[in-house]
Symmetry: C2
Subunit: 364 residues, 2 copies
C-alpha cells in the first residue's frame, strides 16, 4: 500500500466534493499497475527501473521501489535532486549532461547516492570526466544507442564500442553499459543493435553489466528482450488513452483522469468543459481528438483552447447539461502531471488525500 | 519602467551565465510592446484591458496598468486572486463560473475589488445570482457572444438580449454589457453581431456600457472596432512565432525566447536540444515545426519529446556543435509561461533578475 506520509488532508470526501478541473489519480489502479509489471520483471529476471517523469511523485517512486524496483530513472537533474532528497538512492539520468551548472549538480548527487548517466559523444564525456575527476568521484556512464528512435544516441554498434572505450579510459568515469529507448514497435531492430554492440564491447574486454531498454508501449511484449538486463517504463503507472488505443492497456487500467465541468452548451452539438490545453496538453500522439470523455464515448474533444475543451456531441445520444461533470482520459498523461501543482489521490469515488507534484516543473 | 520589487537576484550577469533551458524575457521589448498598444488604444478611445494569461506576472500586470490599462482580464479565479493579492483592483474574468467552490471565491474577490464576469446561459446566471444575493453583493455580468469563435457564447443577438434581460432582473447581478472573443480574421462578422445585440438591448431599455472584444492577431486592424469600447489582448506583451507568421508582429517584437543547449548531434542532419514539449508545448497553431531557431533560420524543429527538441538541420549551411546554445522562439508563448516556475528577465544580453511566474498553474 502506498505510503502517504507527506500527502495533504482535504475536506473533500468523494469526487462530488472536488472543484474542477482536478487531476485525479486512483491509487487502487496504480497499485495494480505497479505490482503487475514488477511481477513480470521478476519472472523475466529484468531489473525494473521505472521512469518517474510520469508521476513526479515521491510516494509513487518509493512504492515502486518497495514493490521491487532496483531504482528509478529521471530525465532531468532537478528531478533526481527531488527524489534523492526523499531518500531514493539509485538514480539513472538518461540524458546527456553538459555545462558547468549541471556538472556540479551531478557531482553533488553522486556524493550522496548512486548516480548513473548516459553519453552519446565525446564532448559530453570530456565534460563529465573533468568534473568527476576534479571532485574525486567515479561515475557510471552508459553509452546511449539510437536503435531506431531517431533522438539521441550513437548510430552504430561500432560507434558504441568506440565511445565505451573513451569512457573506460576517462578519469572519473566507469563504463556503465548500453542504454536505448527504442521506438514503439521497434524492439526487434533495437535488439540486433544492442546484441552486436554488447558483443563488440565484450570482445574488446569491456564488461557490459547493464543493457537498459525502455518504453511502456511494448513492455508486455517478450520479443527482443533477450539481451536486455534492465527496463525503464514510465507511463504504465497511470496508462493513458494512447496506450489503450495501442492495446497496451485497458480502459480500466488507466489511473489518471481529469475531472471537468461542462461550463457551456452553446449549441445542441457543442459542449465546452473547463479543461483545455493547460490541463490536458495539446499532445495528440497520432490520435483523433484531445482525450476521451469517459461517460460519453461518442463525444469527440475536437479542439482545445488554453482553459476550454471543445467537445463535439453530434454523435452522442445522451448529452451532458451545463454543470454536469465529466472525466476525461488524456491522450498522454506524463505532461499532464507537469501542469498541476496538486493531484487528488482517490480510491474509486473516495477522496484519500491531496499531494503536491513533487518534481513538477523540473526543466533543468 | 517595469517595477521589479519582488524579483529575485541572480549571480548570472549575461545570457552566457544561465543554465538551460531558461525562459528568457526581454523587458526592453515588453516595454515597447505595452507602450505601443496603449498609445493605439488611447488614440482610438478604447479601454485597454490586457489578458494576463500570457505573462502571469504581477510586475507586468502592474506595468500595463501604470501605462494606462483600465484593469486586467483573467480566465481563472485563481489568476484573479493572485492579481488581487498584488493590488490589482479591476478584473474581468471572461469565463462562465459554476459551482459552490468558485462562486464563494468570486464573492470573496468582489468584496475587495471590482470584479466582472460573463455568462452565456441561464444556469450560470442562476448560480451567480444566488451566490451574490446571499453575499449582499452586486456583480457585473456581461453576456458572452459567440461571434464566430465557436467556443462559448450565445448564438444570436436576440439570445444576447434575452440573457441580458435575465441578468438585469436577477438579484445580486447587474448587466455588464457584451463580451466576445472573435476568431482571428473574423472581426467584421463579429462587429455585425455586436452592433445588432447592442441595438436590441438599448431598444429594450438596457444600457450597454461595455462592448468588449479581444485577440492579439487582429489588434492592429481598425475594421470592425466601431462599436467596441474595450479591448482584451494578451499575447502582444511578448508576441510569438504564430504572430510573426500572421504578420501581426515582427521578429524583433518577440520578447520571450527559450534558451537551450544542443546536447546531441547524433547525425550530420540532426541536432537535439534540451527543450522539448515540457518547455515549448506541443502547440502548432497551424505552423510547420515547433518553434523557430533564432540563429539557424533554416533549421526545422521537426518533433518534440518531453525534454528534447528534435531539429532537422538538412537545410542549414552552418550547423551548431554539441554544447552550443540556441534561442528558440515558441509558436505560442502563453502556455510556455505556464510551464516554468521562474522566468529570467533580461535587457538585451544583460540578465536583470529572476521572477517567479506568479499566476502559473492556476487551473481552477
Amino acid at each position: 500500500v502506498i505510503d502517504l506520509t507527506n500527502a495533504r488532508a482535504t475536506d473533500a470526501r468523494t469526487l462530488a466534493d472536488l472543484d474542477t478541473p482536478s487531476v485525479v489519480i486512483d491509487l487502487d489502479i496504480v497499485e495494480r499497475n505497479v505490482l503487475r509489471w514488477q511481477e513480470r520483471c521478476d519472472r523475466l529476471g529484468l531489473a525494473n527501473r521505472p521512469h518517474i517523469k510520469t508521476h513526479k511523485l515521491v510516494p509513487l517512486a518509493r512504492h515502486q521501489i518497495a514493490t521491487g524496483a532496483c531504482g528509478i530513472t529521471c530525465q532531468k537533474i532537478a528531478e533526481a535532486e527531488v527524489m534523492a532528497d526523499a531518500g531514493v538512492d539509485d538514480i539513472f539520468i538518461t540524458n546527456n549532461i553538459l555545462g558547468g551548472h549541471k556538472l556540479s549538480r551531478v557531482a553533488g548527487l553522486a556524493r550522496r547516492c548512486r548516480i548513473a548517466v548516459v553519453a552519446d559523444g565525446e564532448t559530453v564525456i570530456e565534460g563529465l570526466s573533468a568534473a568527476m575527476a576534479a571532485a574525486g568521484l567515479k561515475l557510471d556512464v552508459a553509452v546511449e544507442c539510437d536503435t531506431g528512435g531517431r533522438r539521441c544516441g550513437v548510430q552504430t554498434p561500432a560507434s558504441a564500442l568506440a565511445l565505451a572505450q573513451v569512457i573506460d579510459r576517462a578519469p572519473g568515469l566507469r563504463f556503465g553499459g548500453l542504454m536505448t529507448y527504442p521506438p514503439a514497435g521497434g524492439r526487434i531492430l533495437s535488439a540486433a543493435f544492442l546484441a552486436e554492440a554488447t558483443d563488440l564491447c565484450r570482445r574488446a574486454g569491456l564488461a557490459v553489466d547493464t543493457v537498459s531498454s525502455g518504453g511502456t508501449p511494448d513492455m508486455w511484449i517478450d520479443d527482443g528482450l533477450e539481451r536486455v538486463t534492465e527496463y525503464r517504463a514510465g507511463t504504465y503507472v497511470y496508462n493513458d488513452r494512447s496506450l489503450v488505443a495501442r492495446g497496451t492497456a485497458r480502459s480500466e487500467d488507466c489511473a489518471l483522469t481529469v475531472l471537468t465541468t461542462v461550463v457551456s452548451r452553446p449549441t445542441s452539438d457543442r459542449a465546452i468543459v473547463d479543461a483545455g490545453s493547460k490541463s490536458l496538453t495539446s499532445d495528440l500522439l497520432g490520435l483523433e481528438g484531445y482525450g476521451a470523455v469517459r461517460q460519453f464515448e461518442a463525444a469527440r474533444i475536437a479542439a482545445l483552447s488554453e482553459e476550454h475543451g471543445h467537445i463535439d456531441l453530434s454523435a452522442c445520444e445522451d448529452r451532458p447539461a451545463v454543470g454536469e461533470r465529466v472525466h476525461i482520459l488524456p491522450n498522454h498523461v506524463c505532461p499532464v502531471s507537469n501542469l498541476v501543482d496538486t493531484v487528488v489521490l482517490v480510491r474509486g469515488d473516495e477522496v484519500v488525500a491531496l499531494h503536491t507534484v513533487d518534481a513538477r516543473g523540473c526543466v533543468q
